[in-house]
Symmetry: C2
Subunit: 520 residues, 2 copies
């Protein structure tokens, strides 16, 4: 009896496993049946089913931020990829490595323009740093190894591998490929280190501005020590993929969201040193306002550009700067216990009181989330994950991915009600996988940010028909009902007392739980 | 006191109104604030707020199919468009005219690579037949007039107008533009009509194959008369955007979904005449199977290619074919009243009994919807809208759009449970707008089609980990809870008696209602 040859799909999955990819977030279809079968028989790779592709791609982002390595997705042709693009945009901004496997029609079928045919590579291009179609079973192993490496090449991002159905079902004579090492990030030039040293020598008129991956671990410690030694201010971008915070962690000032507040914050900065980021710009343009937010005339020095080795740069800089006083670290602060009708600040105070050590917070609270960010500065040490690309609907999927990557850590999702409704299907996956994830919905029943932005952009005299486009009442969304419908236990709170009881209880139990925090 | 100049956004909206665009399906953001303000002050254009962009684009598709003219969408930059792409893919396949207005950063802000910056035109390209960025307020009126015309140019589809924020907020010195007439569809050549006549002269070994827009109105009547006069068979594509059906309408055989069934159905056809469609191909490829489904060696004649004037072609063909016997029309059939545990056939029989005259059915029932299609052949006259591009998540949004376009007609959505979860946010818009829309969820708690396709594609020995990827239980999705959470009254049924009571009641009342039909 002859040995049954490995299919292309099996060569693909084995290659991914060899390269350390352990998780596939998927919503598959007919063209992916052989890939599904291969994943179902895989040794180490596990699959997580999502009801919508935006959940799958956002979960892969959250997974990458916590695991520090890529998961893969398995998506159904161009439209399946399209449904995941918004969270791939966010992941790209977080520089999260993700390997998309996008099924396609068999190569012979592509020319027939069947209903699901589309320009898959065209959909993938705006978000991908690597795209390839593996058009034969013999090349899929090598292509998969390249994809895993490509997702981790500078600056880190999306590798999209297109998998025609016949590539998946045909026998592979080459079998799986060996892992390919990603290209190491280039270390900053000595001249960049020297320029940064010279800029920071100006003390308090100088500032370090950090972004991923310098907001955690050794890089964060080095940056804080450099700031302490030079007297420079220490900032991070408004939206960072992962920041380590809480008691004992170096205290970093986060740039505010609104452009005029950033300008105010950066007043007096004459020398700006960039670590793995670009000079700050406004999130949106406003009539008559500058978009570039670096103080006019200030010197801008790049220690490490995005995709350069920020850690190496910080090590070199720390060595030349020398040792100074101990950096400013967050002190333990337990906010008072609030009472009465809920508002975002009271929610934040209560979250800070009960957040367990090692928690992961996925923050898409928008206007309502700021209170929690402020209050948790002195909470137990935790990681904070933000909406990196501005495309709402990221928070719950990122929570799903983070909880999958770290089953022993509590995940807390802080979600605006409007944002939650983009990818509410995440709750079902949280229930199915019994993820240890507590979701707080800030139910202010409006796109509150847009009420503010309407004034800021100078659009005049909004009438009722305009205001209706920001209004999420009529009908109110019932998040307790939605959670129940998706298999997640939930409770609704209108007072601080109720919320304190619900949130502290959720921190003590395991498994998915949702708290609707109703507020004006 | 000088007159306040019109903004670019106002010039845009006024131009759209002049061109007959009456409805905007939107989920806006900061970059769209001036467009939102202008729509809020518009005279005839009304806005419908959607919680997710896939609802907005799908609703625009459903609106176009029923209204016969474009609605616009208003979407938030690249990611907002990205969330709507899957249903734009479906709309493109239905050849539905849609005008996308996609907000962008101000022109001066585009170079700054702010978090939400992306390649909007790149996202739009795979689904759009026209793309333009209106980079000044003075050009936006003309661009909007072009967009409306472009959406209706052959074959009908998506026109994407990119609207930078400063284009919207700056004063327009040119103001609104006059409507531009779409280019008339080209009439088929005389030679095509003659070739079709000659092909159909072979009688029962010949067949006419129809697609949009030949499945309704005069075109459908002409096609049926031509078939009757020549003895040719009369078919339509498996998935058609709109077909007029029910008692008294010409009876057209729909091509089956599975490739082998199409081959069986077309056995004996030696001459195939295409009306506004292409020769049939398999929806998916399967190992060892042909993708082209026209019988081998058969003659294929194109009377009207997609985008040619099918009605003109059918008129010319009818004139040369002459008058024959009366065409076959659907007879009134009232199925018996079933009892006991529900299944798709029982649901179909009950739907057929109670479907009111003039109803619009949005069918995304997948494996479960077939029973309803069969049984309603002899129901009261109605229009049937299908999943044209194979990207699930279309049915509920198309229902929202259809109900918006025809507030005096009952809309019935037949939805698979898996499909429903892609765009379940549609229910909230149905509640907010009090749309007269009854949703039937076929709750078989699996991606049932994939269980079938797993076998058909020959993927071997699926184990529990594979089968889990098709399973929608663990936890069961509670559609009554979901509907309640989104403001829609709902009921769950497990027997034919319960379903008959719920569905007949829903047909007699107005407003949104959901029925979960639980079945194996």
């Amino acid at each position: 009896m002859s040995e049954i040859a490995m299919t292309g799909a099996e060569a693909l999955v084995k290659t991914l496993e060899n390269a350390g990819v352990e998780r596939c977030f998927t919503n598959p279809g007919t063209s992916e049946m052989h890939a599904v079968a291969a994943i179902g028989r895989a040794e180490t790779m596990k699959a997580t089913l999502c009801l919508f592709e935006g959940v799958a791609t956002g979960a892969a982002d959250g997974y990458a931020r916590i695991a520090g390595k890529p998961a893969c997705t398995l998506l159904h042709l161009g439209p399946g990829l399209a449904n995941g693009l918004a969270n791939l945009h966010n992941a790209k901004r977080a520089r999260s490595p993700i390997v998309n496997i996008v099924g396609d029609h068999a190569v012979s079928h592509r020319t027939l323009d069947a209903p699901l045919a589309s320009d898959i590579a065209g959909f993938a291009k705006p978000v991908s740093q690597w795209i390839k179609s593996a058009d034969t079973a013999d090349e899929v192993g090598q292509a998969a190894a390249e994809a895993v490496a490509a997702s981790q090449n500078a600056p880190g991002g999306i590798a999209t591998l297109i998998l025609p159905a016949d590539t998946a079902w045909n026998p592979s004579s080459t079998g799986p490929a060996a892992p390919i090492a990603p290209t190491p990030f280039a270390a900053p030039a000595d001249s960049a280190v020297e320029a940064a040293r010279a800029a920071l020598a100006h003390g308090e008129s100088a500032a370090l501005l950090l972004s991923d991956p310098a907001m955690t671990g050794e890089a964060l410690e080095l940056a804080a020590n450099i700031a302490a030694a030079t007297g420079a201010r220490l900032y991070c971008d408004t939206f960072v993929g992962l920041m380590a915070r809480g008691v004992g962690r170096p205290f970093v000032r986060r740039l505010p969201y609104f452009a005029e507040a950033v300008e105010e914050e950066l007043k007096g900065v004459r020398h700006l040193v960039l670590v793995s980021t670009k000079a700050p710009v406004a999130f949106f343009a406003y009539p008559g306002r500058r978009g570039e937010l670096t103080p006019e005339g200030a010197e801008v020095v790049t220690l490490a550009a995005p995709g350069e080795d920020a850690l190496a740069g910080l090590r070199a800089l720390a060595a030349v700067v020398g040792k100074g006083p101990a950096p400013v670290r967050a002190l333990p602060i337990t906010p008072g216990l609030p009472s009465g009708p809920l508002d975002p600040m009271k929610v934040g105070a209560i979250v800070a009181r009960h957040l367990p050590e090692g928690a992961i917070v996925s923050d898409e609270g928008a206007t309502s989330g700021a209170g929690s960010f402020v209050h948790t500065a002195g909470a137990a040490p935790h990681d904070w994950l933000q909406l990196t690309g501005g495309s709402i609907g990221q928070g719950l999927p990122v929570g799903v991915g983070a909880a999958t990557a770290a089953p022993d850590r509590k995940v807390v999702c802080l979600e605006g009600d409007g944002s939650a409704m983009y990818t509410i299907q995440s709750l079902w996956t949280a229930a199915r996988e019994n993820l240890d994830m507590t979701v707080v919905i800030f139910a202010n029943r409006s796109y509150a940010i847009l009420k503010i932005e309407m004034m800021r952009t100078g659009a005049q005299n909004p009438g009722p028909a305009t205001l209706a486009m920001f209004d999420l009442s009529r009908p109110d969304i019932g998040f307790v009902d939605l959670a129940r419908g998706l298999g997640v236990e939930a409770v609704s709170c209108e007072t601080a007392e109720q919320f304190n009881s619900a949130f502290s209880g959720a921190m003590k139990r395991r498994g998915p739980f949702l708290i609707e925090a109703v507020m004006p």
